[in-house]
Amino acid sequence: MSAESTTTSPNAIPALETESLSVRYGSTPVVDGLTLSVPRGTVFALLGRNGAGKSSLLRVFLGQRPAAGGRVRLLGQDPWTRRTAIMARVGVVPEEPDAPPEMTATQLSALCARLNARWDAAAVAERLRRFEVPADRAFGRLSKGQKGALMLSLALGHSPELLLLDDPTLGLDVVARDAVFQEVIGDLADRGTTVFVSTHDLRAIEGIADQVAILHGRRLALAGPLEALKAERGLSLEQIFASVAGTRASDARPGEARS
């Protein structure tokens, strides 16, 4: 057997992979037996109603919680034991912006520059300018949309191979949502960055996601290429979500899974 045949190309390794993954809070199961794979270079949307366990799952992906069972790999590594190394290649936008409230965007970028070996401060500044985020205003005094935009800018500052977005548009107005997703689509599509996004914004994601997965009842209810799923069922993403998660589209705000 040749050396070539035994060596796995880095690009062949899924950006994110789980196998029978379980997540628990104490004795309460949150996610059970989740098996999925996120190919590199795709935009993967994880959908689910509130409390479905999406954020908990992301904390496990980020190595902030251990898995209760099963296996998880980010860029081929265990995030619980290899978190520091993995985070050099991963960008994160949390559901709740968690930057220190007393620091300005410039200071945050400078802090991240000290924490990341690779940091493109100019690109971050440019992105902040594009998002119209004040560079010298304390993070705690920014609007919700500005905070989201700043977090996204910081998440992309080190050109991550994988970007994890946890409901990045939650609470944002339509303009801000479009800005976020345009950034995701425009900036990342060029680089081949893998995007894993957990969102309620079904309409926005419908246009950009390559693959979707729906969490329901602690389990993976549906997963696959978005276009194939839509064609197979002859339904929109919103209708698919409603049929799987038990939510009628009319109960949700337009374009948004019910919370």
């Binding site: 904390r59 220190p100 802090l111 990341n116």
Partner: protein, 662 residues
């Protein structure tokens, strides 16, 4: 390192207002003189202010650096960056320590500048910086206090913010830790076990507590990460693991300290049974500070039982053991202030069998309870500051009692029979009667049928100070010798004068009197005033008090002790100068008052002054006696065979340990 400093700098930036705050506190002592406060007090105010500000800053940052950030979801910012947990943990702790120390120093600068050390009363020259550098221990203690403040604040804040079931576990473990500290750590200090460690013992204890906080917070970050509940669990496990190991080590050390056997102790006191088989010894071991080890030793086999030491919450004031005249029973008296308990050991079997008897009494705490067992231990006599009672055994029921008036105290007690005890009371040395010629003594008779009589009788002169050395009864309490301005033989029940053994001659000093088994009396003490240094004088009298003869001995007259009667007609005489000074004991033939033997370096092993055992009248004089040497050893001497053996103290054989079971 750069990442660690970045994390620390971020923490400091958030709390930058503490720095000008510290400086403002430092100016406070400068304005106080305007309100009439003395100038020399200012540095004290400044030091107190700086210390408290530094500790306050430690608490502020300690309570927020991890717990608040985790609860607010802000720790995720660092955990979603390529920053390892040691860097996150280290950066936050570094910031906490820098903040607390630097604010403490900042709060010192203004008043140190305004009041140079050289201008402060009592100090000549030098500077505050020199003074601080000359006191590394103080600086180390301040630093340790800051570590403890940061750790404690972090623990408290995490506990408060997590509101997890671990809170209940923490409270239970906290109570358990208090219990264990009181049980295993406090005695190490209380009994001076840690004295050789000096201030290190405190530093180590605080250091281990600080280590617990540090280890706990490391686990909190390493395992708990951004989840405050999980972080609380990890913190608790880390902290309690260190504290638990520390307390377990202390418990182990305490157990080792207490595990000393009779061969390990320097014996302080010995009580023997009248038969000569069992002895009770109390002593201290080198490894155990002042802890009083107590053993009940079978001197024929070397087997021994360890007696429970005094408990912190149950001071055993009745230190010492008393034996019944038949040698079958031994007893210890203890009291916790609400009642008295007699630990009664049955020595009849192979091993002592313990039964605890609650006495029907509420004994007040007192320094000098006296207790004695009846010849076959069917009753016990107990006297304390305000009363004397007879209790039936094993019921503990009080069968007779008499009041001991204020300014009176018990001098001696004897069981006249199984059912009746007789005690002699003397005026307390604190009262006026002790030194007044013509004062009185009292005889108290208690009987199992409930009768209690008190008979006063006049005495001829002032009694010696203290409770002991004033009255010497015979074994059955029928006769008594009093030292009241002379040496008088009296009726034990009425105090009626039978004979004057010696008139007051001045300079008597303390006397020792022994009734021999055949009724003769031997008294010893300093010689009458005469030219030259005082010498020991021994006098012998017949049973009626008529002189037999007297002799001067080559012994120090101070602390002269007559007794025991080692074989019929022969008495041991010794003197006592100090516990560590070797003494010789002389054995005299009473008929001739000639020295027939000299026990070099030995003196009779004496008991506890507040426990009383007496050989019953008419019993065979035991041939086995116990002596103590200058190195704390107890030597058993059989005067019938001449055999000697060490039974306790350094060099004693390590006998089998037996348990004094119930």
């Amino acid at each position: 390192m750069s990442k660690l400093l970045a994390v620390a700098a971020r923490e400091l930036r958030e709390r930058w207002l503490l720095f000008p705050g510290a400086l403002a506190v430092g100016f406070f002592p400068l304005v106080l003189p305007a309100f009439g406060v003395e100038r020399d007090v200012m540095p004290v105010v400044g030091v107190v202010g700086a210390v408290f500000f530094g500790l306050g800053a430690a608490v502020v940052i300690g309570s927020s650096m991890l717990a608040r950030d985790a609860a607010n979801g802000r720790l995720g910012f660092l955990f979603s960056r390529p920053v390892s947990w040691p860097v996150i943990w280290g950066g936050k702790w570094l910031a906490a320590l820098v903040l607390a120390v630097s604010t403490g120093l900042l709060a010192s600068i203004p008043w140190m500048v305004a009041y140079p050390l050289s201008t402060v009363k009592g100090h000549r020259g030098g500077s505050w910086l020199r003074a601080m550098s000359d006191d590394p221990q103080g600086a180390a203690f301040f630093f340790m206090a800051i570590v403890l403040a940061v750790g404690l604040a972090n623990f408290g804040a995490t506990l408060f913010r997590s509101r997890s079931p671990w809170v209940a576990a923490d409270l239970v473990l906290l109570l358990a830790a208090f219990w264990a500290t009181r049980r295993y750590v406090a005695p190490l200090w209380l009994y001076g076990v840690l004295i050789p460690w000096g201030a290190w013992s405190v530093a180590i204890a605080l250091g281990l507590l600080g280590l617990g906080f540090v280890a706990g917070s490391m686990a909190q970050v390493a395992v708990g990460r951004t989840d405050v509940r999980r972080a609380h669990g990890a913190l608790s496990l880390g902290f309690w693991a260190v504290v638990g190991l520390t307390l377990a080590s202390a418990a182990g050390y305490w157990a080792w300290v207490r595990s000393a056997g009779p061969a390990d102790v320097d014996v302080h006191a010995v009580t023997r049974d009248p038969v000569g088989r069992w002895i009770h010894v109390e002593g201290s071991a080198r490894r155990s500070g002042y802890y009083p080890h107590g053993f009940l030793i079978d001197t024929t086999s070397g087997r021994y039982a360890r007696l429970p030491g005094p408990l912190l919450d149950r001071d055993r004031f009745g230190v010492g053991m008393t034996f019944s005249a038949d040698g079958r029973f031994a007893a210890l008296l203890s009291s916790d202030g609400s009642g008295a308990t007699l630990a009664l050991f049955d020595l009849g079997g192979g091993a002592p069998r313990l039964s605890e008897v609650a006495l029907e009494a509420s004994l007040l705490r007192t320094d000098n309870p006296v207790f004695a067992l009846s010849p076959t231990a069917t009753s016990v006599f107990v006297a304390h500051a305000s009363g004397a009672s007879l209790f039936a055994l094993p019921s503990g029921r009080r069968v007779a009692t008499a009041t001991i008036p204020p300014d009176w105290r018990l001098s001696a007690v004897r069981f006249r029979s199984e059912d009746s005890a007789r005690a002699w009371l003397i005026p307390s040395s604190r009262g006026s009667g002790a030194k007044r010629p013509g004062a009185e003594m009292r005889v108290v008779d208690l009987a199992a049928d409930g009768t209690a009589t008190t008979v006063p009788f006049p005495i001829a002169g002032p009694l010696p100070p203290g409770a002991w050395g004033a009255a010497f009864p015979d074994a059955s309490g029928i006769r008594i010798v009093t030292v009241d301005g002379g040496l008088h033989l009296r009726d034990g029940g009425t105090g009626e004068l039978r004979a004057t053994l010696a008139a007051a001659e001045g300079g008597w000093g303390r006397l020792s009197v022994l009734f021999l088994d055949d009724g003769r009396i031997v008294a010893g003490g300093p010689s009458r005033p005469e030219p030259g240094p005082p010498r020991a004088l021994l006098r012998a009298f017949d049973a009626a008090g008529a002189p037999i003869g007297e002799t001067r001995l080559d012994l120090s007259p101070g602390g002269l002790t007559v007794g025991p009667e080692v074989v019929p007609g022969r008495v041991a005489v010794s003197s006592f100068r100090a516990p560590i000074l070797p003494e010789d004991t002389l054995v005299l033939e009473v008929d001739t008052l000639r020295v027939v033997d000299r026990l070099s370096g030995l003196r009779p092993a004496v008991g506890f002054w507040n426990a009383s055992s007496a050989v019953p009248a008419g019993a065979t004089v035991p041939r086995v006696h116990f002596f103590r040497d200058g190195e704390g050893r107890v030597i058993r001497v059989d005067f019938a065979t001449g055999d000697r053996k060490v039974v306790a103290g350094p060099g004693a054989p390590r006998g089998e340990r037996i348990s004094a079971g119930r």
